[in-house]
Symmetry: C2
């Protein structure tokens, strides 16, 4: 059996980052920059007022106090969006709105609250220093300044910054497109009637949702029959629109029913191996099709499929985006109950991690640790790691825990 | 001025959770259960094999060892999805695949690795106890068992569990639909040419992305002119398809340019107030339209708008989903530089929180703390809280920090 680390290393070695392409800002959320983005224009693009008030020469109001206010004629009003050229002369002022361009010659804004709010002339009852309430051209970024580093994930603020800096589009690695397929004569679409011997398909529903939660655009293919031709056709079709494929089931050790294995053998190179973990021992990974699209063949047991997704597919998605994988958040926690683990395999037991600071958190293994027990997984928020050589741990011992997203 | 807590309390008091509706599983990701979901059928729905192997009576192989194997006739093969009725007689076995229904009369499965894999007859070289490699009907959940609690957010596993339990749809509070609007004559769509006095619109791009990141389905309206009629028409149109509206800008103290304020006054009740925080002092919130749709009028400065979103809109989204708001994750961290704050206002300074355990993390204020400095915000990952009465804190002091999502 191979180690978890060896399998993950082989997966990551086979994945090339997606090529960057020009994305609209609406598409760009969750994308990753291949190259840094520098400012092309000053941000803000012109000196403007930070307040509603009056644009003045600071020296004209230097003596203003409440007891001895200064009155200035108002030359006009400058609203935000006013694109005209305005020029201040000494001894006068402009009424000005937040965000409006400063008139030439003005060096400060007196906020309206420090005035009588006049329109023909205004009485100002406080001095302000030069520069008061002015946002200077380039005060946030000057042309050439680094706005976003290579490798940045474009979250809401980053997308907003690109907009503010005038980018209608951005060159970035797009969110990976993932297609999830499940094959099996026993599988019935959820909500459809069932006869004994059949089960409702859930893995593709769950894995597509997990891919979405991990930042991908994911679709699930309707249930496939155990028919090599049907599976082959579906994979070929999926290849046209996916950066990553995920299958679950159909790769058992049995042989003749392994239609996924059979279909893949004609499309590329997929390696099937046993990984020293529980759940999730039978793993398959490779590349298929003309673009050598990566494909995971995950185990058919739902808990195995989900744990495998978190351990292997999540990092692969990061690799497609060209960024280092943070992996799941790790914590230390105290076991509330005894646990067991097979020798030579790393157990990833489902647990409920309690609140509390890192040092004192407790983690309770859920009842129902078999790899088909999805209801138990749905109650868990963490995976308890029992290392490969260890076969038992007792309540009160401290363990490593992976927080589920 | 009102406190941050008072404003948040008023917001939350005005929001009613969205009514639950029947959602497809594809729509259900991120939705929240109004009522608990119990199992309607046993899960798994029938006894089935956990392994590829041979379904047997455990007593028939009780004596099997490698040195003294037991040979049994194979009555047939049961594949996953086989819906036929099979019955085992003592002294024989069925070849069986993972997930296939156990034949009547069998009580264990011998995995194929412990056999010679025969098809007419099979030689079994190890004993297995009764129940070995059998997943019992109802072993994950029995009818009536609680599957998901009321208030559960439907993540990938929960959606998968609903599928496995046969639900093609689920009654849940849907992800809120959010529309973001920005009005201003100075605003130009990102990527379009600009003349002096104009800026590229970024707030609606950023806030729609933030709403998406917070679990909503969000759209942004194209830039609106400073025209009450145009703004009014856009808000009315948005009301038809949104559970929450967000505007930014257009609500300054200036008066005649406050087209958003003017438009809202005809549509509902929106309260404008000063909140004792920086950035984000001018806040507006209320309800508009026939359904009393909640609306936030956020400040026009991008940093103010974003911080306001995190403090007020995020919890409001949780309230629409009918779940308690977790709020942003709070940490304690050590300041790396001196900071200042206006008396009487809670500062939320943008900072970079370093790695490290909770006790030793450091947080560095970014340069550029003005509320228009979006490039600085894009470098931050945390908000440093300076409490209302405090006007300065020194490097080395420990502060509360909110982690940005």
């Amino acid at each position: 059996m191979d180690s978890v680390e060896a399998h993950l290393a082989d997966v990551l070695a086979a994945i090339r980052p997606l090529p960057a392409r020009e994305l609209s800002l609406a598409e760009a959320q969750g994308a990753v920059l291949e190259r840094a983005v520098a400012a092309r224009w000053p941000l803000p693009p012109f000196d403007n007022s930070a307040m509603d008030g009056y644009a003045v020469l600071a020296s004209d109001v230097a003596g203003a106090t409440e007891g001895s206010p200064v009155t200035l004629p108002v030359l006009g009003e400058i609203a935000a969006g006013d694109t005209g050229a305005h020029e201040l002369r000494a001894g006068a002022c402009f009424r000005i709105m937040t965000g409006a361009a400063m008139p030439a010659g003005a060096d400060a804004v007196v906020q309206v609250e420090l005035t009588d709010g006049g329109r023909e002339q205004v009485t100002i009852s406080a001095a302000v220093p030069a520069g008061a309430s002015v946002r200077y051209r380039g005060g946030d970024a000057r042309p050439g300044d680094l706005l976003l580093e290579a490798g940045s994930t474009l979250g809401p603020v980053q997308v907003g910054l690109l907009a503010a800096a005038g980018h209608g589009t951005v060159l970035a690695r797009p969110r990976p497109r993932v297609t999830v397929l499940s094959a099996g004569n026993e599988l019935v679409e959820p909500g459809q009637p069932l006869v004994p011997g059949q089960i409702w398909e859930s893995n593709s529903v769950m894995l597509a949702a997990a891919a979405r939660a991990a930042g991908c655009a994911a679709t699930r293919h309707p249930v496939l029959r155990d028919d090599t031709g049907e599976v082959l056709a579906a994979i070929k079709e999926a290849l046209a629109g996916a950066d990553l494929l995920i299958t679950s089931g159909g790769v058992s050790m049995g042989g003749e029913h392994d239609v996924v294995k059979a279909a893949l053998s004609t499309l590329g190179t997929v390696t099937f191996r046993k990984v020293a973990m529980q759940p999730g021992m039978p793993q398959g990974f490779g590349t298929v099709g003309p673009d050598r699209t990566p494909i995971f063949t995950l185990p058919g047991n739902p808990v195995s499929a989900y744990v495998s997704f978190q351990l292997f597919v999540g990092p692969a998605i990061d690799a497609l985006l060209g960024r280092p994988s943070a992996g799941l958040r790790t914590r230390r926690a105290v076991l509330t109950a005894d646990v067991r683990s097979p020798a030579g395999r790393r157990s990833l037991l489902r647990g409920v991690l309690g609140p509390g600071a890192a040092q004192v958190a407790q983690v309770a293994p859920v009842s129902g640790q078999a790899s088909h027990q999805l209801a138990s997984l749905a109650r868990a928020n963490a995976l308890i790691i029992v290392p490969e050589p260890v076969t038992a741990m007792a309540a009160g011992e401290t363990v490593d825990v992976l927080e589920l997203p």
